[in-house]
Amino acid sequence: VIVMMEFSEGKSPFTVAGLLDVTPTARIAQEDRCRVVHLAGELDIAAREVVYGACVAEGHSDVIVDLGGVTFMDCGAYGWLIAARVALLERGGSLTLRSEGGAPARLLDLIADIEARVSH
């Protein structure tokens, strides 16, 4: 795994000593032939640069977003993922979410539930 780039919000007002680091961060790595964006921390609408910026950074087309380090995600952050997906699709690429349980699972399950029930 080669770390290509790192993103984080300029301010980190929510870092609490002794607790989990909640500052949103993105680490971009190369795995085989895929760009993988490892997101971490608490992601809300303020995390635009971390979520959208890291996903659409120059040269990316096919991107896997790994949510393994995410400790909170809301609809605002999900919206930035959708915006990134739209931008990547426009340049012929793709965005794939990689999430195994964890904090974003509830939100993703509820949103996916709409799709599942409407499309079947």
Binding site: V56, C75, G76, L110, I111, I114
Partner: protein, 331 residues
């Protein structure tokens, strides 16, 4: 900074999940009926033939009710029960604002054919606030299902409910089933009248803890709710749900009201309630969060998400401001 970030602000109405206007006339294919019953025999005698008629006409049928009532109808339907989708009302109807998105999903799944729905969302022990939201929900069915080819039967146990609820069922259902046939309800009124009043919630109790928040404070809002949830015995996924719901309400305030807001939090006998208040005005607030946004939508799912996460949500908005009150039960 990237210059090509899509600017995802479709506007106040759609951002809070309201893209449809409220209709004031009742027309179209919907048949929306209330059924007052006394005892199990009347329940079976009212609900089972309604479902059987639909199945005989090859309609798809959905029923949500308390488990004991589902079992009565399942037994009454004999072998045809497996053709009906049964949902536990303590889940889908716990927060009445969750019913319409679920029922609409069912109707969309079976679009092109008539659907038949039994909606039994009032049961013993429902609080006054829950019943109030349920009545608003029933009024909204006439608006948000107006274009749906559906027959909807809403049974309510006539024993142990007060007269005002029975009158409200008459006000919100265009038809009432009497002796097995649907008759126009003489009490029925335009749903906008039911939804317009009362538009104010009782004030939060004086002992509520308060946090004023501004742009950049969403993390502080989450930590405030987290600490109080822990203090009041709400843990695990239930605490996470409440934190998420309050975060969405506060994010709506910051994104749309043009200023900050106030979070209040308090406990009841077996409940924890959070309220987010701001000076913004949501147009057609009664529609907010009642339709599930598409998976590909960038914005506009906050109120819908809040409705999925909480046991009861009361949203009120007028020119003087907006209040989103979110309640969860403490086991």
């Amino acid at each position: 900074m990237l210059a090509d970030v899509p600017h995802a602000r479709p506007g106040l109405e759609s951002d809070r999940g309201t893209t449809q206007s409220s209709g004031s006339t009742i027309s179209g294919p919907l048949l929306h009926m209330s059924l007052l019953f006394h005892g199990d025999d009347e329940y079976i005698g009212g609900v089972v033939p309604f479902v059987e008629q639909g199945l005989a006409a090859n309609e798809s049928a959905l029923m949500f009710a308390p488990i004991a009532n589902l079992e009565l109808v399942q037994a009454g339907l004999h072998g045809s029960a497996d053709r009906v989708t049964f949902l536990d009302a303590s889940d889908v109807a716990r927060n009445p604002a969750r019913i319409i998105p679920s029922a609409r999903r069912f109707a969309e799944k079976h679009s092109g054919q008539r659907v038949r729905i039994v909606g039994h969302g009032i049961w013993p022990g429902r609080s006054a606030a829950e019943i109030g939201e349920f009545v608003r929900h029933e009024a909204l069915v006439n608006v948000l299902f107006a274009d749906v080819d559906a027959a909807v039967l809403c049974p309510c146990d006539a024993d142990g409910v007060d007269e005002s609820l029975i009158a409200d069922l008459g006000r919100t259902h265009p038809h009432t089933v009497i002796d097995g046939s649907a008759r126009p309800s003489p009490l029925f009124v335009d749903p906008t009248i039911v939804l317009a009043a009362p538009n104010r919630l009782p004030a939060a109790p004086a002992q509520a803890e308060t946090l004023d928040f501004e742009v950049g404070d969403l993390g502080a809002v989450r930590r405030f709710v987290q600490s109080r949830a822990q203090q009041f015995g709400l843990t695990g996924s239930r605490a996470h749900d409440l934190i998420s719901a309050v975060n969405e309400a506060a994010a709506n305030t910051l994104n749309h009201s043009g200023s900050g807001g106030t979070l209040r939090i308090w406990t009841g006998a077996a409940t924890l309630t959070c309220e987010v208040a701001d000076s913004g005005h949501i147009v057609a607030a009664h529609l907010a969060g009642r339709v599930a946004p598409p998976v590909s939508a960038l914005r506009g799912r906050g109120m819908w998400m809040i409705n999925q996460l909480c046991d009861l949500v009361e949203l009120r908005s007028d020119v003087s401001g907006t209040v989103v009150r979110m309640q969860v039960g403490i086991e």
